[in-house]
């Protein structure tokens, strides 16, 4: 490496600080990984002791086929809920966002401010009436009920996000199509949606990971143990007499693997979604 001497000190200091910080942030994950692949007796006095060091997959098998709350079923349920809860609000919100981006209509600005406000709303504010609403419509303890709630809750931020995205797109192709006599809806799905694909991917990825990671709504609306989603099962795997960190960490890894994978594969979209979700262009 060609580093001038006077910069060497600076190089060492800032690299050490940066990597120590990185290590501090990584240690909790290292602990989880170590606890998940080692027998309980080896981690009970600290996973950082290396002798003896036995690698086992027993914890993963145990969590996957847990007699009471198998994570395998939870992962399946999470997937059954997360996929429709991503697609539905994405399509519905894209339509609404287009109206906000391209048309002018009365109360538009008030409506948009209201949507920004809904983004900040705590879920606690709606669950008591929602609980009774779903119960009356026989949607409690049903995946459909939770999917509807997730979809409705996803709308506000996806509308906000997609409106920003649509506003940045050039409108000349749309104008040309209009002159050629294309209908509004045709312009929307033939021209605008394909152009907005990167934005739609970002929104889909964030919505999917948020629904996958949701705990609170599932806790309220799925009260039948068979229906429990993966996040809901995690706290139930504690073990009877002591906290079984092996099972818990193995299950945690399986539950977080899906969002981690999505993040790794679509990092660019994930990051631009994160930034675009919270700031306005």
């Amino acid at each position: 490496m060609n580093i001038p001497k006077y910069k060497l000190k600076e190089f060492i200091i800032s690299n050490s600080i940066a990597w120590v910080l990185g290590l501090i942030w990584l240690i909790p994950f290292l602990g989880v990984l170590m606890a998940s692949i080692r027998p309980y007796r080896e981690i009970v006095s600290g996973w950082w002791h290396f002798s003896p060091f036995t690698i086992t997959l027993k914890n993963f098998v145990g969590a996957f086929n847990h007699p009471m709350f198998p994570i395998s079923e939870g992962l399946r349920n999470s997937l059954i809920i997360a996929i429709p809860s991503t697609i539905t609000p994405l399509l519905v919100a894209a339509l609404a966002a287009y109206a906000f981006a391209r048309y002018s209509f009365p109360i538009k600005n008030y409506l948009f401010v209201f949507i920004v406000f809904l983004m900040a709303l705590p879920q606690q504010m709606t669950i008591v009436p929602l609980y009774f609403l779903l119960r009356n419509f026989h949607l409690l303890n049903k995946f459909q009920g939770l999917i509807l709630v997730h979809s409705a809750w996803g709308l506000a931020w996806i509308i906000f996000f997609m409106r920003n995205y649509f506003s940045m797109l050039p409108t000349d192709v749309e104008e040309a199509a209009r002159i050629d006599g294309a209908s509004d809806f045709k312009i929307f799905y033939k021209i605008v949606l394909p152009m907005a694909l990167p934005g739609l991917i970002s929104a889909a990825i964030l919505q999917f990971t948020w629904v996958w990671s949701d705990f609170f709504l599932a806790l309220v609306f799925l009260q039948n143990p068979e229906k429990y989603v993966a996040t809901q099962r995690l706290p139930l795997l504690r073990g009877q007499y002591f906290v079984d960190w092996g099972i818990l960490t193995a299950a945690s890894i399986m539950v977080m693997l899906v969002p981690l994978l999505v993040y790794t594969l679509f990092q660019k979209y994930y990051i631009s979604g994160m930034i675009g979700w919270s700031t306005e262009k």
Binding site: A18, T249, T279
Partner: protein
Amino acid sequence: MRKSKFLTPLFFLLPALILMVPFVIYPVFKTVYLSFFLDDKFVGLENYKNVLLSPDIVNLDRFPNKSPPWGALIHNVVWIAIHLPATVFLGLGIALLLRRKEIKGASIIKSIIFLGMVIPMIVGGLIIRFLFEEGAGVIPAIFKALGIEGLAITWTAYPKTALFAAILGSIWIWTGFSMLMYSAGLASIPKDYYEAALIDGANRFQIFKNVTWPLLKPITIVVVAMTLLWDLKIFDVVYVATGGGPGGASMVLALQMWDYFARALNYNYAAVVAVLLTTLTLIPALWLIRRRD
């Protein structure tokens, strides 16, 4: 912007309204309505009086001289007082550090710090519990090695430490957010601004104070508002790390609402806490909305 054709935008908005009216908007008003009733009887502000004056929410007999429980509202405020400045400044500091070109592997470090934002919060909460557990956890072990026996304990099991374990853990989870936002903000500052400042003979601190910090102000507003919202709404992390305990020592508003709703089956008190929580989130929300104009 096209001239208003009233029906077309309505058509585009209709599916969203069909979903949002029954599942988001109606329940908001219904919750406010419920907060004024008890056992189907209109009681006016009675519920508010009972809930706000109960030690569940504000417990001034214990705050600040005795160990928690101090009440859920105070816990949320303490949470904000520690978590907000810590994550904002840590995130800014890390973003500034990692954009220096001498740092090797800056993008790897960035990804590691951002991981907390990617994982489900329920997993984050479990990890916090694991970190602070005596024997299996790192943090009590560190304090033991330092000879500070008072903190070489399972933090989540004692009233004096449970709340702080959850707050410290949530700093680990949330710093990635402000780091990401500030990194994006720093990247968007034109290079010539710095060159001009250097030519004028400004030193590093002056450049930060007079160029970087003012230009980052819009980002800071977003980061602070989003962090405030997160601090107020915190639920999963506390639910699984401490369960709000021991004895309510780490209870927060969102969890207190769940407690009234699911354990006490007092839907009206639950509604009162929900309204209180929503009122508090209005402050950062309005701040974000006002920034638009």
